[in-house]
Symmetry: C2
Subunit: 533 residues, 2 copies
């Protein structure tokens, strides 16, 4: 097994620190000759990454390769996929788990890297296929014998963001008459608004919680069950579950079908497990869900290549490390030029920030280097009319990751002023990347652009189920590579515990179950917020 | 007129720099006694701001007051509302405009601060009232004499984000049978997806563009007109416009009704003008839109108070300046514990980052101090299950602004484990604020929370039209105060121009109108992206 080395102990960091004193100057005239743009291009699974507009030269790329090699990133990734216990902190109580979301999609060969987990994935896929066939045939139907048209997914965090982002991205491929809705927030207005627009009698409710005890999901499940009963419907006929084997929700009496996920799949990495599979399969059809898996699996394979130029996830990871640790930028904007990817940045916020927003190394020491950045973003061209002012002229530099497609999904387009909307979309994306890099001198200081604001462009032919799977896995693997490089555990989330403990204390006071001491900050806060008594 | 002073020249900055060496330690035991929590509370228009969990003490608050006074912030704000030319850069070509979005809501007294602009606002309100009465009576109807049920707003940036955020926030108050949809992105899939779910025959299309020439909006208007014609409908019967007087869209032959906005209203500050008014009035009713204006106006009045403790927008502005310029934090998370505020952070991204993401002072010199932060956020409790790990344990500190309400909008709630969902929502919000502030010591370094992560809680009774108006104006005024303090022009957006120029160049090449030189980066990028030829 690869030794886990602290980031600060990697020799290549010294070289990179030196190189960062004079990063490639994108704002110099002729800094983007044709040969640079052609050379700074890497591809996998139909995606091309254009990175000429990053502040890197060959020396930096060589040093980043050295850093990746020294840290054994590709070997660690392979170990992860093969079932090594990567979710741990040495010398301290920790989750001590395998990390095998990749096994959910390693279902296309007879020699998967983690045979047991893949066998479990295949078993769940077979159950899903069977269930969906029964939905299609009408064997699974409502009390009046009618087919189900809508799936309402009730979950939060990883049981919501990934599946929702993928569903919205792929809505275009829905089966006729099928659709999905989602409830996540404990805010009662969320559930009320969604339920008010639904025909519950034709709705299957898919409750998703790995632990089977997530407060928000339990509460929303109760709310939905009450709504069903009030509508004269039998909850047992309308609810299905995705949960861990043996969880409080793993109860066939309460759900007409149950699908399992396993403790080696983290919530934020679970979109390609049954957590995403049931709703995507119901709405898009089983075969399209398999296409998502195929794209993800092929990107997982691409992550096995040792050379940066051949390994898109690793290349993106190392460019991110360069921007984060050596150029010192603490945020990343993910800017899809595709309205269908509206919620993909929100999914990445979870996947990246919950994975790599860490302070302790896997060896149990506080880190002395920067870990995960703040990830945010909105679709372009909308963003151009919103926050791009700051990207171009603010006092903070924000590395940007543009994502685009050469063809639209719907194919319903219009030519205005000689170009289609899709051409306008892609042209705007490329123009932004160029404007951030090169800047523009101007006598009027308010019209001056300093340039040297780094970005990459990721482009593919069309946002299909396969492409979505590949894009998802590209980011998942980028995140894992960065976590390995920073020597942090990207697979736990201890940072969310304290808030839960304090919330429970406040709720115990509100329910009258347990009084708070009068000088506790909790008491004073409840009072100041007008929530006491 | 107040002299505009550079931020670095304000004497209080020295004192604040000293104080920032030892900011208030929130993680010390007993750092949050009842008297601090009770004292650190300010109110306006039904909102309470709890700021005991900011790293401030009385000395800091006194120095922030001095800073505000020295920079003449309240006087500048009053000058803005009274029609001073605040949108300018001294000594350089600039927009040279008044900034009078506040006049749109200064419609409740006979002595408004900017009488001419308010008279124009009242004229537009009267036209809107008349138009909506005709919609209600059926005088405005479709070709078959049927009433209109849906308004489709076509706009982008300020003509989309604010109106959309407010509509989603207030959907609960819709008139029976009325709803709104929005198209913004030039992505043809955005329009296709929205149009496919609409009954166009019952839809009024509200095209919003101040200039009347925004590329995305023109393109989407063409696309919608084509869809109407293809459906056998007469566009002139279905389209209304909100635009600047005299713009290319100000054409009664093409729109069945037109409403005006004026050059003294910036797009990102236009939600309380007709840009938001037409769609909000159509869906919620005229009187509810007036309630939005009333809330905004009352918050504008609160911004006239000289003392921080009496002026909520100024207090929030100065706490932000403390975090940004003295504690050095470059992002702000806006975290509404209300699903209805789902898109409010996206609106604020525009309003804040486009206003204050600036590099040049109003005196025409490059700034030597930090200006606007990166604003981002998602609703809680969803965010707790996503990116809060980084907020609590990441290597970056992110000041947070929580927003919550004591009562839900729908009032459809459920009690689980002794508390309602709304109680759970608010308890979680308060708990997060406390957890970030206090942290928790633990022997296991991975379960240790360092604390001292600053936040505020903004809480009101319920998210009503009045409260939404007040909240909107609270942030608009906070942003303006910060811009005044940084001595930047918060009302132009020169930073978006370069991207437009480059996009036009790429589009001219794609349409064949004008070839690019073969070594131009634009050519190579198109080729590398697979878009050439």
């Amino acid at each position: 097994m690869t030794t886990w080395k602290d980031f600060a102990d990697l020799k290549a960091t010294q070289r990179l620190t030196e190189l960062a004193q004079q990063p490639y100057n994108l704002a110099r005239p002729d800094s983007l000759p044709p040969e640079r743009i052609a050379a700074c291009r890497a591809s996998a699974c139909g995606f091309d990454l254009l990175y000429a507009t990053q502040r890197v030269d060959d020396r930096v790329l060589v040093a980043l390769q050295e850093l990746a090699d020294e840290a054994g990133l590709v070997a660690q990734h392979k170990a992860m996929k093969s079932g090594a216990v990567m979710n741990r902190i040495i010398g301290h109580a920790s989750e001590e788990r395998q990390v095998l979301h990749t096994a959910c999609r390693d279902v296309f060969s007879d020699t998967p890297l983690a045979p047991e987990a893949t066998a479990q994935a295949k078993e769940q896929l077979a159950r899903l296929k069977q269930f969906l066939a029964e939905v299609d045939s009408g064997a699974v139907c409502n009390g009046q014998g009618q087919s189900f048209t809508t799936m309402l997914q009730v979950g939060i965090g990883g049981s919501d963001l990934g599946p929702r982002a993928l569903y919205l991205a792929l809505e275009r491929y829905r089966l006729p008459g099928r659709s999905a809705r989602f409830i996540a927030n404990v805010d009662p207005d969320d559930a009320a608004a969604v339920l008010s627009g639904l025909d519950l009698s034709r709705t299957l409710i898919n409750v998703v919680s790995k632990s089977g005890s997530t407060l928000e999901t339990r509460t929303n499940e109760e709310l939905v069950r009450t709504a069903l009963v009030n509508a004269g419907l039998n909850p047992a006929r309308h609810l299905v579950a995705v949960t861990g084997a043996g969880s409080p929700m793993d109860d066939p009496d309460k759900y007409r079908a149950s699908f399992h996920m396993y403790d080696y799949i983290g919530g934020r990495y679970s979109a390609t497990s049954m957590v995403g599979g049931v709703t995507l399969g119901f709405t898009l059809g089983y075969d399209q869900f398999v296409e998502v898996l195929r794209g993800a699996h092929e990107m997982d394979k691409a992550a096995e290549q040792p050379a940066l130029r051949d390994n898109l996830p690793l290349l993106m990871a190392m460019l991110g490390i360069w921007n984060r640790n050596f150029l010192g930028y603490n945020t990343v904007a993910v800017l899809p030029y595709s309205q269908a990817l509206l919620r993909f940045p929100a999914h990445l916020q979870q996947c990246d920030m919950e994975s790599n927003g860490k302070q302790v190394s896997r060896c149990g020491s506080p880190v002395t280097w920067k870990t995960g950045p703040i990830v945010w973003g909105e679709p372009g061209t909308n963003g151009q009319h919103a926050f791009y002012q700051l990207l171009h002229q603010g006092t903070e530099i924000v590395p940007a990751e543009f994502i685009g497609f050469r063809c639209s999904q719907h194919g319903r387009d219009i030519t205005v002023s000689g170009t289609t909307s899709q051409q306008k979309l892609v042209a705007n994306m490329l123009a932004q990347s160029l404007a951030m890099a090169q800047g523009r001198s101007h006598d009027n200081p308010n019209k001056h652009f300093a340039g040297n604001r780094p970005s990459s462009v990721l482009i593919a032919e069309q946002l299909t189920p396969y492409a979505m799977g590949a894009l998802l896995a590209l980011y998942e693997n980028r995140i894992a590579f960065q976590g390995f490089c920073w020597n942090i555990n990207s697979f736990d989330q201890e940072g969310v515990q304290l808030g839960k403990v304090l919330a429970d204390r406040l709720l115990a006071a509100l329910s009258g179950e347990k009084a708070l001491s009068a000088d506790a900050p909790e008491s004073s806060l409840l009072k100041a917020a007008g929530m006491a008594g």
